[in-house]
Subunit: 400 residues, 2 copies
């Protein structure tokens, strides 16, 4: 293991408890440093979901018809406190992409309208933007912001430079998926609101990674996953809309409560398994036993250390920092550009991934972005410094 | 118990096995004769889903990213055989309403276009039609077909009379939700296809209730639930589209595979719990142990008997048959019109429902339709004749 003293103040965090990984459902045979992709579940969360399912299946009509509003209300109250919204201004959706689709497909665009985003946008959201643009004659503008970046202001400036009189909507990630950057969404929203332009924030990675107070950001739309960094059951996400913007917004599945307001419409999107939504408060509570501030700080400190450690260990193969080494622009993930030489190890990012998985039991995403290969390391409380040391070693071994 | 001999040949069916209800998750304290609403689950199906969830959560990326296509392919193969489609022509969705929304929202309508349906339409689908009509300037035409009906031809004739040169789409239930009628969808499709009009069938109740061969019906679009009469986990449904009609149809949530074809697009609608979809074959297999033909026949025979028995027992309070007593127009549900006098028992259908639930532990839907109150009894293999005798008695006691 790297001696942390060589890293100055960038020490790995103290574990929040002993053997925390035993509380999780992940296979201990795999070194799992891809929490960012689908999250992961503490066993107690899955057990809570299973208890809800048993209750629902014992009396289906009573639970998800007659008592649905009360049960959703309880679950929403816990989520509302956690992310800083009013219960009447949001509802559960299956995933953040679905929430983004609900907004994009509800809005009306005219030929020539511009939908603005950046090249760090999540690919599914890119596709959803492309779809609504194609069918309305609007245009998607994707601003390139190459790495490295030095400051949040650089990101604000880049977006400011892309606004035009035809910009109708800005779509921005709170934390970007490929590049793991925290975008200064509050400043971006202020900038756009001054110009009368609405902002749709894709907060897929935000709840649980950053301390979130959605309503205070001031934007029009915020879609977020609870199954990623808050570790609720898969299929648990939320769509929040500022009260003055709710009227035209509908779920992607229109159902009985069409026309009765966004929260009512979202409360019934056809028959579905609501057990995950009902269990969401238990995911929030799981982390509360450690303290959410400590959890976020642990994961952020780990990501900051990982970024620096990997840059040190991989300096010889040409890996350089792409965001400030003090961790000021990242949360609990860090993305690094892999050197061209990695193409000797595999012909595609998938091949390189598969070698890391098959030969080292490492689960870590490798992908193309901006004409290079990148690797993203995620840090959740079940991870230990050894996980990332193993990654550092494995890449060097593959290149040796 | 009513002496079956008074019913001539309309005997209740012989149970498929002893104590079948023990295999189900329903609370035995409730007499559950509302299978049609959300279905119900055999315990083995929920256990299968839970095993899939354990596998997914142990290795999330491996299961729902790298192995997803294979796992979906296995699940789809079993479903495809069951409902008579090719795997490449359909995908899983959360519920039939979602599938209907995907089609309606993908199509383009012009001002003045007519979307035709009948007043037996499921309310959520009515709302989805209203939504796409409102935003395009199209019109929804809802043909009234009052009960009683005597023959399938009456239904075909009613729809034929509603077709105009402006009809762009006919939306019809295979089995209607409020009125439990089997619509002659093959004849309706033939009629419409001759006129160059596409038909979207809402088969919410069809898989498991009727022997289904979707592709042979010849329609353009078929959306169906697997969580209702096939008893797959909640949130398991399917959308099939005839090959020549697939190009413009997209899931309600656009994601990574946008533009790669309907089946590919449906294979990834954002992160979600796929355990229910993977477990769908085990729901089909559960019924196979009894034989699907026997299951359908059992449930149909029960519904036919229930319809006649209730009409006999309730003749004195003014309940009359609304479909042929030979059961030729129903599957495994029967709907009866309640007399005006029921309003003495409760001020609303919900109040009447609640009295049946609270005082008799009966779970059965009571609702408004076509300016009257109706009751719908569902028959699944866990039901016994006593369940419906209890209902017959309870209604008479409430009126006494």
């Amino acid at each position: 293991m790297t001696n942390p003293t060589t890293l100055g103040s960038y020490d790995p965090p103290i574990p929040l408890a002993e053997q925390i990984s035993h509380e999780w459902m992940l296979d201990p045979a795999i070194t799992y440093i891809n929490h960012g992709c689908f999250g992961a579940r503490p066993r107690v969360v899955s057990q809570s979901q299973q208890r809800w399912r048993e209750r629902i299946e014992a009396r289906p009509i009573e639970l998800i018809d007659r008592r649905r509003d009360d049960l959703l209300s309880d679950a929403k109250a816990a989520v509302a406190r956690f992310v800083g919204v009013q219960p009447q201004d949001f509802g559960f959706v299956t995933n953040a992409t679905g929430g983004v689709n609900a907004v994009l497909q509800s809005l009306t665009f005219e030929p020539g309208d511009e939908l603005l985003t950046v090249n760090h946008v999540y690919n599914a959201v890119r596709q959803a933007m492309r779809h609504v643009a194609e069918r309305s004659g609007a245009k998607v503008i994707e601003l390139p912001i190459p790495l490295p970046v030095q400051s949040p202001q650089q990101l604000v400036d880049a977006i400011a430079a892309g606004l035009t009189d035809r910009t109708k909507l800005v779509v921005v990630d709170h934390i970007t998926s490929p590049t793991a950057l925290i975008f200064p969404v509050k400043q971006i929203i202020e900038l756009c609101e001054q110009r009368g332009i609405d902002v749709l924030v894709d907060g897929a990675h935000a709840p649980g990674m950053v301390d979130l107070d959605i309503a205070s950001l001031g934007g029009a739309y915020y879609s977020a996953n609870l199954h990623k960094w808050a570790c609720a059951p898969m299929g648990t996400a939320m769509l929040w809309v500022r009260p003055d913007k709710q009227a035209p917004i509908h779920p992607t599945t229109i159902s009985h409560f069409f026309g009765e307001g966004l929260a009512a419409e979202l409360s019934w999107q056809g028959t579905r398994d609501m057990s995950g939504w009902f269990a969401a408060p238990d995911a929030i509570a799981y982390f509360e036993q450690y303290g959410w501030d400590r959890v976020r700080e642990h994961n952020h400190q780990m990501a900051t250390w990982v970024q620096r450690m990997l840059c040190e260990r991989w300096a010889g193969i040409g890996v350089e920092p792409t965001t400030p080494l003090d961790g000021s622009m990242i949360g609990s993930m860090t993305t690094l550009r892999l050197p061209e030489r990695m193409r000797e190890v595999g012909e595609t990012p998938i091949e390189l991934h598969d070698r890391l998985y098959d030969e080292f039991a490492l689960e870590v995403p490798i992908f193309d972005w901006d004409d290079a290969w990148w690797i993203r390391a995620s840090c959740q409380i079940y991870n230990t410094p050894d996980d990332y040391e193993k990654l550092a070693d494995a890449v060097l071994k593959l290149l040796a």
